[in-house]
């Protein structure tokens, strides 16, 4: 039983295109911000020289020792080299959400109710995870 629905092909193509562009953007941001971090152009929140004594600590101990920001508060510290690195990470972690939001209208137009529901549920899960609800 062959199943070649034009709208499905379109949704898969669109998802692939957005994924490709988002991944390029994320990797680019990750490499550029890491080079900025290594160059020392921006002073980091935690000096790299201190890392060998810190990266063996558990997360709780590390946060207590460094008072590094958690949640979205890194956005307020983008002037610090290590925090700037999180821009690339955030872009990579946001790509899937963007792809889902892009294909949602395609499912809506095709009246694919089950997939609209799955799409919305995934968006809710990802937004909740990103917002730090969990």
């Amino acid at each position: 039983m062959a199943h070649f629905d034009e709208s499905l092909q379109a949704e898969q193509r669109v998802y692939a295109d957005w994924l490709a562009w988002g991944t390029r953007l994320g990797f680019g941001a990750l490499v550029v911000t890491y080079l900025v971090y290594l160059s020392g152009l921006l002073a980091p929140a935690v000096a790299p020289q201190r890392l060998p004594e810190l990266w063996g600590l558990s997360l709780t101990e590390y946060l207590a020792e460094t008072r590094a920001p958690t949640g979205w508060s890194w956005l307020l510290n983008l002037g610090q080299g290590d925090m700037l690195n999180l821009v690339g990470v955030a872009v990579l972690a946001a790509i899937t959400l963007a792809c889902y939001l892009r294909v949602l209208p395609i499912f809506v137009r095709a009246r694919e109710r089950v997939f609209v529901a799955i799409c919305v549920a995934e968006v809710v899960v990802l937004v909740a995870a990103a917002a730090g609800v969990f």
Binding site: M1, A2, H3, F4, L8, E11, Q12, R13, Y15, A16, D17, L19, A20, G22, T23, G26, F27, L30, V31, T33, Y34, P48, Q49, R50, L51, P52, W55, G56, L57, S58, L59, Y62, L63, A68, P69, T70, G71, W72, D82, N85, L86, G88, V89, A90, L92, A93, I95, T96, L97, V114, F115, I118, A121, E122, V125, L126, A129, A130, G132, F134
Partner: protein, 314 residues
């Protein structure tokens, strides 16, 4: 510049031979990496993950499943940060391969979406549990899981085509069927799935394990899709990658919000594995896949024993 296949065989053999003593050397784990300047560890990490990238591609697995037990067991980084990096590593690999797989039809978005939803919820649960449990418990559980993965890879190393079967009620309702072009045989392969309910339950569990340990989950996704749901192996491999890119995203946000993503560990690892994977794709043409897979199983077995021993306090 094109190098002859024999040269690639030598590179592959060299990489695999280097990986073993490298691990053995690192086994004499120095607390916090004392004695070396800070930049030496990211450099060692880059080299190690580059080799891992080659071995992972040749062995037909994701880099994340090698990364966490090896780096967690043999490097001076705390497991909390290693799991965060492993998750990002698996996510990046899956994101990078996603567009090509989707465009070629070797991954099905429609098949991945319901399974990834179950996996995303499981991934969040796993990430929260993993960050709350004592390190020793996580390390011991990781050791057991990695040993189980090695066992699963050994048992399923001969699996291939999806069995012929009818689609179940859920699969029909979700429209989980289609066809794709297999370039190897130059034929259109029709597919449909069954045991959809079990598949969803499996992906929840697999997502949880992935979030808990920061592992990519191709080792479990592929057997679940291929052996449980009857998806042809090539489509299972591609769709598994796509599902990982969705599932790991939710857990990655949890790790990021908790502050468990250290750029000094993440970035060299991602770059190393990605570059290694590119070399690995070329090495793959020149080396016997079954040999590489057996080496991966042996490496996983050693890393699993090491992790279990650490967790038990030996």
């Amino acid at each position: 510049m094109k190098l002859p296949p024999r040269t690639f065989s030598r590179i592959a053999a060299g990489a695999m031979l280097l990986a073993a003593p490298g691990m053995a050397l690192a086994a004499a784990r120095v607390p916090h990496g004392a004695g070396l300047p800070w930049w030496a560890w990211p450099l060692i990490l880059f080299t190690t993950t580059f080799l891992m990238g080659i071995v992972a591609v040749v062995g037909g697995i994701g880099g994340g499943v090698l990364f966490v037990p090896i780096v967690g067991g043999f490097f001076p980084f705390h497991l909390d940060f290693v799991r965060g990096a492993g998750l990002m590593l698996a996510l990046c690999g899956a994101l990078a391969s996603g567009p090509g797989l989707l465009r070629s039809g070797l991954a099905s978005l429609r098949l991945a979406m319901p399974l990834a939803l179950a996996g995303s919820v499981g991934g969040i649960v796993g990430a929260l549990v993993g960050l709350a449990l004592p390190t020793r418990v996580v390390q011991a559980a990781l050791g057991i899981t990695v040993l189980a993965i090695a066992g699963l890879m050994w048992v399923t190393r001969g699996s291939g085509h999806g069995a012929r079967h009818g689609a179940d009620r859920w699969a029909l309702a979700l429209g989980l069927h289609g066809r794709f072009h297999d370039p190897a045989s130059d034929q259109m392969v029709e597919w449909k799935v069954h045991r959809t309910g079990w598949g969803l339950a499996s992906f929840f569990g697999i997502g949880m394990v992935g979030g808990l340990f920061g592992l990519g989950a191709g080792w479990a996704n592929v057997p679940a899709l291929n052996l449980l749901m009857g998806v042809p192996l090539k489509l299972a491999l591609g769709t598994s990658g796509l599902a990982i890119s969705i599932i790991n995203t939710s857990a990655a946000w949890v790790y990021m919000n908790k502050g468990a993503l250290l750029p000094a560990i993440i970035v060299p690892s991602i770059l190393g594995v990605m570059l290694g994977a590119r070399v690995g794709v070329r090495v793959l043409k020149a080396i016997k896949a079954s040999t590489a897979r057996n080496i991966v199983i042996a490496v996983l077995f050693l890393a699993g024993i090491r992790s279990l021993a650490q967790g038990l306090g030996f």
